[in-house]
Symmetry: C2
Subunit: 326 residues, 2 copies
């Protein structure tokens, strides 16, 4: 990592000018755990804050094998080439090791998008706590907005807790799924489907079109039996092929319809404000908990206390009191 | 409230003897917010802890109108009369005012069960924070187990956050629903269905049987499209009539099958241990947060800080730092 010799004003200026190099360095800064970097990062964020909030923030999830990279490359190229958008692609994958090996860290999986001047692709922050990774990604999202990107994809892997974190930072949450042969559920975690604002059946090509359409119909029927979202939005299910491009414009139209619908109703603004407040509460909670669980006395007592609680030998409240006494 | 003149040993002895009056007083004790009562309550809980854990803990939810009271009365009578069980019925409804008015506080809605010597019915703790109400109910649940009740119902209203809390204290979570005329969703909150271990369509009587069976089929089909539960249990959907009693033995059989299935797989024990640890973490978090947000400086700064964050004028992290500086 290069030393952050830029000042907060330098960063703000570079971001306002849309300089990719400055954006990349600013993201590296927010990812750093060094206190000096963190202080500077907060200064940068506070300075550019008035220039943020303008992008459409789209969460994209789906398990490995669903064709997520191909989909992101295809939809991304449609947005930057056909619609003239500036697109940033971020990711939340706490399990991803920095550097090689990680699916999300591998830029070569989106070769054309990576090379496009109006696209900016950034792998997930280094492996660490989900809270830390999610915070860094959310800060990176604000930096991308300050740099003028008007669509942000936040990608995640569809099998863990990361989806809840991503859901808390985006305007629209898109779940990619496969059709066919009872494989519909391939590892999608329970609860994720309830967060989705739309389902998209991928790989509707190579003779798989009919199965994809049938799966879409089945899911749409099933979703109608479930409680409606707080937004009042009925979750649509569509099919697409990243290879042929079929269904991509329609998928994007769904997202724009959602934006129009919820901006008119005020739900969009409401959700954004709620998300900000949730991040505040989360930041406070993380600080309180990391301080508390970081105490030497708590750290040494915790394992045996947890064991006693799990075994039913100590009530959770008595255990909490024991820990809090440290 | 009578003064708690009993000692912890008195309470433990009375509970071990299954004395209803002592149980009722012990629950009043855990519901009390007086520090002296709380200290004694913790002593009682710690003393009786080895005698807890033996009950089947069943969460029951469904919106008003679904016939929850009638269902609980009918299933409860089946359990105590036909199967010889000892049943305790608790509730989590943070909105319920103590005394008259509250649905959950009104014992007359289950007249026969209330009068039965092997049933113990207790309304929701007084209105307060969800965390406080949930904690008191969970402590009451342990006290009921110590008093020899072998089935505990924990009832909730199906429209809010209480269901998450109840899901965190029971072995099986049952969602009651109505069939017919597009009313299937009547206010059920999104996310609740994903927590259910079984769905039960109520009021399958008076010519409504066919619609109920159709709804059950539709839901069962829909649920198969959704990701499986962590327990590996496929969520069944059944119908019942609390009036005729039809379907009640079958509903109970589903719950016993679940118990047998997950006890054999070890998931039952795993879920119990996880729940204990979650209560520990929650108890610590509640203590840390109530201490923090109770500080005068934080209380006076919070409204303007929250407003600035919601309006996008201050980053959540800078805001958290401002608050933490107090």
């Amino acid at each position: 990592m290069p030393a952050p010799t830029l000042t907060a004003a330098d960063y703000a200026q570079g971001l306002a000018a849309g300089q990719r190099g400055v954006l990349a360095r600013a993201i590296t800064l927010v990812e750093s755990t060094l206190p000096a970097h963190q202080a500077l990062a907060q200064q940068v964020l506070q300075t550019v804050l008035p220039r943020t909030g303008g992008a459409l923030r789209l969460g994209i999830t789906g398990v490995p094998g669903v064709g997520k990279s191909t989909f992101i490359e295809a939809l991304g190229l449609y947005l930057v080439e056909k619609l003239g958008k500036k697109l940033a692609v971020l990711a939340v994958d706490p399990s991803s090791p920095r550097g090689g090996g990680s699916i999300l860290g591998d830029k070569t999986r989106m070769p054309q998008l990576t090379a496009h001047p109006r696209a900016f692709i950034r792998p997930s922050p280094a492996s660490g706590s989900l809270g830390g990774v999610a915070r860094a990604t959310r800060e990176a999202l604000l930096l991308c907005e300050a740099a003028g990107y008007d669509v942000i994809f936040v990608e995640t892997v569809g099998v863990g807790q990361s989806e809840v974190a991503v859901h808390g930072m985006v305007d629209f949450f898109l779940l990619l799924m496969l059709a066919g042969a009872g494989d519909e559920l391939q590892g999608v975690k329970r609860g994720i489907m309830e967060m989705a604002d739309a389902l998209l059946i991928t790989k509707a090509d190579h003779g798989n079109e009919k199965a994809a359409r049938r799966a879409a119909r089945d899911y749409e029927g099933a979703l109608h039996l479930f409680p409606p979202a707080a937004s009042g939005w009925a979750v649509p299910v569509r099919t697409c092929s990243a290879l042929s491009g079929a269904g991509l414009p329609e998928a994007w139209e769904v997202i724009e319809q959602y934006a129009a619908h919820t901006q008119a109703s005020g739900y969009w603004q409401h959700r954004r404000a709620q998300q900000q407040l949730q991040w505040l509460e989360e930041a406070v909670r993380q600080a309180l908990e990391s301080q508390f669980y970081g105490r030497a006395g708590v750290q040494s007592a915790l394992p045996s206390v947890r064991q006693a609680v799990a075994a039913g030998q100590l009530t959770p409240w008595a255990a909490a009191e024991q820990l809090l006494a440290h």
